[in-house]
Symmetry: C2
Subunit: 389 residues, 2 copies
């Protein structure tokens, strides 16, 4: 591919060359690659006072190796997303020190003092009062700024042109928004779900509703999105006594429907609730969809008076937010379903001793969110589906 | 702008240089520029056996001169649209012999034996049985081919990226989809419409519905469109005894909602009907919306089995076509309104001895199409609005 694949030993010289390191002694470097796709290194000064992370996209899927090629320009999408978020919500992403497009490498804040939200939840932690609200605000700030409300028409067209992401969008179009509803070699599931998987594949109504959400995903250029906003893309912790929430890994970023970001988060929230219920350990899970939606809506409404295009009036805002809500609910449903009978599953459920009961509940909830999304008007209506009284 | 502005005398050498002319004698050339924006030359052999048209985009609006600059890359958009249409509906556009992107010049079929549809209609001609059906088919063939149904996902992303058209889209967003509803120096109207123009500006419901259509125009990347499909963008005539319909001037082409193309045509159809009614000369005007919609729907359904992405099922097609219908009705309404109280008016109405009664009818019709588009389910419902029984 004509670029340098960085190894652990290359990192000190690389950081110096790029102007990120000028100490007398080289940093200590260790590889901490964790996701499926990329390599990540941490570089720290011997005295522990400075550290950086280097993330490089490989020309293949890291866990599979060169036999599964993957265009490394997904790192461009990631850098572009971080650049846009940095303008409006710098407190909700890692600090980005530089992007090297020739080598598809980002140099960024070391977040190894924080924890991945999914990991914490799986260990039994509560969300706490801030996490979901910050996520809702993140989506509002990022999407407003990159919508036709936050950006001049001509700048928006340039953003749309620059931000197409054919390869990664195709993954979502296939793995999330079609395969689980047809026979496909990618799909797998626990045998205790055989009946539901077959029912879903035969469900004409479900198929048509998913097709609608899929076409919206492919055509609705509302705003630049994160594109993969699950609980494994969020780090949380505390610094100097204050809670910290950081969204990361926006390599699936593209211009699409805002509801896709909210919906992905909600799917993960609802699945985490099923896990907690299965373990008899429900804490604040049931409130997270509401908290993130309310924070999203509040923040979007707070930004509304700053819109660049005042032809869009307050009545239109109400309608627009209703549409975002409805689409978010639909995407939440598709994300739950694909995480149980599709290609990539969630440890929230797979690590349960008996994943079947929680998975069945989640699958049926997912279906209901997709097919009834027009009728579910608010978080309370969703609660009534999750926990019928 | 660093390119050659062609004058009449330059055309023979230009055509030879570009490989379009190799006869012993130079062609005879005359300028026939007619639209607001560009120059058009016709070049014919002395014996009349061969002729070509040369269309060049100027770096300004032709009728205004250099004081109103306009990016000539609109010619790129035009060439791109013709290139796509040529693959699927070559019989419905002029033959394109070549595009010269350095000089923003198209060399194309001489259509001077045909007539502009609007001109004929204004002179009292009927549409005839073919015209609107061919337009409907044109929209179906062009939009299907450039939608996610006719084009692989990755190719579509490349098309979207290449086809953004900031400057010309902005004209539509402003002149068509906002200015008529606010105070704006561009707007003007016959004094007999003062009350309606004021009512429309004060009409909160209308404003919100137009805002919705406007945001859809800005964000819905369904297919590559013509972008300006009025009756002045259609030439009709007869060749060798057969009717000929040619759509031209797609310089406003961009990836947007299919309903925008159908809606523009319908607005012009409905305004032509108001003119004919005012003159007591109604012929086949009342049937044209139905004919073009039915031809569109029939052709789109005929192409459906060839779709590249079979996850989209027949039930989804029904839903998709309903959406296209509804949006088309809405855009028809906005186009009627802007052509009467906005910037650029239609000779259909302005050349009437008393344009007021027809303009009032048309304005009220336009409003009704916008605000009631969800309730108008088919061409018959529209007829009931145009001519209440």
């Amino acid at each position: 591919m004509g670029y340098r694949i960085l190894e652990t030993d290359d990192i000190p010289a690389y950081l110096r060359e790029r102007g990120h390191w000028d100490g007398a002694t080289d940093p200590e470097v260790r590889e901490v690659s964790d996701g499926n796709m990329n390599r990540v290194f941490l570089a720290s000064s011997t005295d522990g006072t400075r550290s950086l992370a280097v993330k490089q996209a490989l020309p293949w899927v890291r866990v599979a190796g060169p036999s599964w090629p993957m265009n490394p320009d997904r790192a461009d999408a990631e850098a572009r997303a971080y650049e846009q978020v940095a303008k409006v919500a710098p407190d909700k992403i890692p600090a980005i020190h530089g992007y090297d497009p020739e080598n598809y490498a980002l140099v960024m804040e070391d977040m190894s003092d924080l924890e991945v939200l999914r990991t914490l939840l799986n260990e039994g932690a509560a969300y706490g009062p801030d996490t979901s609200a910050r996520i809702g605000e993140f989506v509002a700030q990022f999407s407003f700024a990159t919508s036709d409300f936050g950006m001049e028409s001509a700048d928006r067209k340039a953003l749309i042109s620059a931000s197409v992401s054919p390869e990664l969008c195709k993954i979502t179009e296939d793995v999330v928004l079609s395969e689980p509803y047809i026979e496909h070699e990618h799909n797998h599931w626990h045998e205790g779900l055989d009946d539901l998987a077959a029912e879903f594949r035969a469900d004409a109504r479900l198929r048509t509703e998913v097709a609608d959400l899929r076409h919206t995903f492919m055509t609705s250029a509302q705003a630049l999105l994160h594109g993969d906003l699950h609980t494994g893309s969020v780090m949380v912790g505390e610094r100097e006594g204050a809670p910290v929430v950081r969204v990361f890994d926006p390599e699936f970023s593209f211009v699409g429907p805002i509801g896709y970001d909210l919906g992905l988060y909600w799917a993960n929230v609802l699945v985490s609730e099923e896990r907690a219920r299965a373990l008899g350990a429900l804490t604040d899970h049931a409130d997270q969809l509401r908290l993130s939606w309310e924070a999203f809506e509040t923040e979007f409404r707070r930004l509304w008076p700053t819109r660049v295009d005042t032809f869009f009036d307050d009545a239109y805002l109400d309608r627009f937010l209703r549409r975002v809500w409805t689409e978010s609910i639909g995407y939440a449903g598709t994300e739950i379903i694909r995480r149980i009978i599709g290609f990539a599953h969630l440890t929230d459920l797979t690590t349960l001793e008996d994943p079947v009961p929680a998975s069945r509940r989640a699958l049926l909830l997912g279906r209901e969110l997709v097919v009834s999304r027009e009728e579910l008007k608010n978080p309370k209506d969703v609660r009534a589906v999750v926990q019928p009284t």
